[in-house]
């Protein structure tokens, strides 16, 4: 795995689950990491502490990345912490919030889900693109749901991730000529608090049983893929949405 020493990485939603694993992995490879969070200051501090204890550099910065003024704060605090160049952006923040069917949607729920998953990806990318140059890399966390429409009641989540997938391709075209690569990963069933909160155990067991590798993935395995994609090793991979699901999508 390529060394990320001296690079500055911003990971949104870095207080738990996949975002936390990504922040730790990038820091272990030498990157200075901004661990963004909104709800869990405790989780973000824990992520930062783990990085510092292993000799890495990281700061926790609070911002609701669905709000433009707070994205601006995140950018300014990033510059204050690590300077005016950002090399790596991982748009990981997101959430399902609740399982709701079409007749249960209201405008506030729509705005919440689309805001946290898609609007955040768009405007955080916009804010940080100006700090990124040749050799920069953006990875967006999409989802298996973007491919298959998601499990019951996750229609808006799946749709927001579909938008992230398409945005990734469009950004790859726009930023490719500047030497900034943009890719996405589409995790399948990963053992995280996300699923502890929103997916019943019997459903998880059923999905794991029908996954060719017969298990859930681990957040660290997604982090390994993200770390690869942001490294120079992946220098000709651009505009991809890479599935990481143990073969689930085709079972």
């Amino acid at each position: 795995m390529s060394n990320l020493k001296g690079r500055v990485a911003v990971v949104t939603g870095g207080s738990r689950d996949i975002g936390r694993a990504i922040a730790i992995k990038l820091a272990h490879l030498g990157a200075k990491v901004v661990v963004n969070y909104f709800n869990s200051e405790e989780g973000a501090n824990k992520t930062v502490k783990e990085i510092l204890e292993t000799g890495g550099e990281a700061v926790a910065i609070k911002a609701d990345v669905s709000q433009l003024n707070q994205i601006e704060d995140l950018k300014n605090q990033t510059i204050a912490a690590f300077g005016k160049q950002v090399d790596i952006l991982v748009n990981n923040a997101g959430g399902l919030f609740a399982r709701r069917t079409l007749e249960q949607f209201d405008e506030a729920f729509f705005d919440l889900v689309i805001g946290v998953n898609f609007k955040s990806t768009v405007f955080v990318s916009q804010a940080f693109e100006s700090l990124m140059g040749e050799g920069g890399a953006i990875v967006n966390i999409s989802s298996q749901a973007a491919r298959d429409g998601g499990g019951g009641g996750s229609t808006l989540y799946a749709s927001s991730k579909g938008a992230v997938t398409t945005f990734t391709r469009a950004m790859a075209k726009e930023l490719g000529p500047k030497g900034i690569r943009v890719n996405a990963v589409c995790p399948g069933l990963i053992g995280t608090k996300f699923h502890d909160d929103f997916t019943k155990d019997e459903i998880r067991e059923k999905v794991a049983a029908s996954t060719p590798l017969r298990r859930e993935g681990a957040a660290e395995e997604v982090a390994d893929l993200v770390a690869y994609l942001v490294s120079d090793e992946a220098s000709f991979i651009n505009g991809n949405n890479i599935d990481i699901n143990g073969g689930l999508a085709f079972s």
């Binding site: 795995m1 391709r169 790859a172 075209k173 490719g176 000529p177 030497g179 690569r181 060719p212 590798l213 017969r214 993935g217 681990a218 395995e221 997604v222 390994d224 893929l225 770390a227 690869y228 090793e233 992946a234 220098s235 000709f236 991979i237 651009n238 505009g239 991809n240 890479i242 599935d243 990481i244 699901n245 143990g246 073969g247 999508a249 085709f250 079972s251």
Partner: protein, 254 residues
Amino acid sequence: MSKNNNRVALVTGATSGIGFEVAKRLGHDGYQVILNGIEDEVGAEKVAQLQAEGVQAEYFGFDVTNEDAVNSSIQAIGDKYGKIDVLVNNAGGLGGRSRFEEMTTEFYRKVMALNLDSTFFASRAAIPYLKKGEHPTIINYTSNAGWNAGGPGAGIYGTSKAGVHAITRALAKDLAEYGIRVNAVSPGTIDTPFHAQIKSTKPEVFASWKNNIMLGRLGQPQEVASVVSFLAGEDAAFITAETIQIGGGQALGI
């Protein structure tokens, strides 16, 4: 990376182009690499080159479209090393160009054999030895042509690569219970001897290709090798049945 010590990787079609870069990369990652090819002299030369770089390399000459040769050679490799950890089905090729009206059955069978039979034969023969491997995996090669059905006269090449795409998923499902992961890479336009003819006869066409690539340049064989290296390793432990495009953003609609 010393963690790959004692891991055995077989790369078909490894005496030139991308295949050689893959063998070289895996060798430097610490694998014992077996280079397959059909030109024995070139094979010996390439192995000597890698050995001079400190890589543990060996050459096995056999034609990947010859079922009996594949079976006996892979058996010999597997028996010698006791296992195969990584099989890279890199061998393949365009085989020429032909429009359908004039296409001979012989040509059709040749191209299908080169790309699809070869992948099937080598994978089937390697399964008993992959089952004895550590974190065993197969990596196949598809192509943009597998999606867009190929350029002029390359329809059967595209068809064969679409077959490789499907057999990748099918092998992944079939072999998952043994912990064998199966993925594919889909190189876009890579600067290799594959394009030597057009590079010399139509340099203006060759030069224009980069305009269709978002990164504004062709890929290098090393950039394919780095993806194969990633997929072969433990960092890709939850990735199976997947095809990774290495095109610099060339074929975004797929």
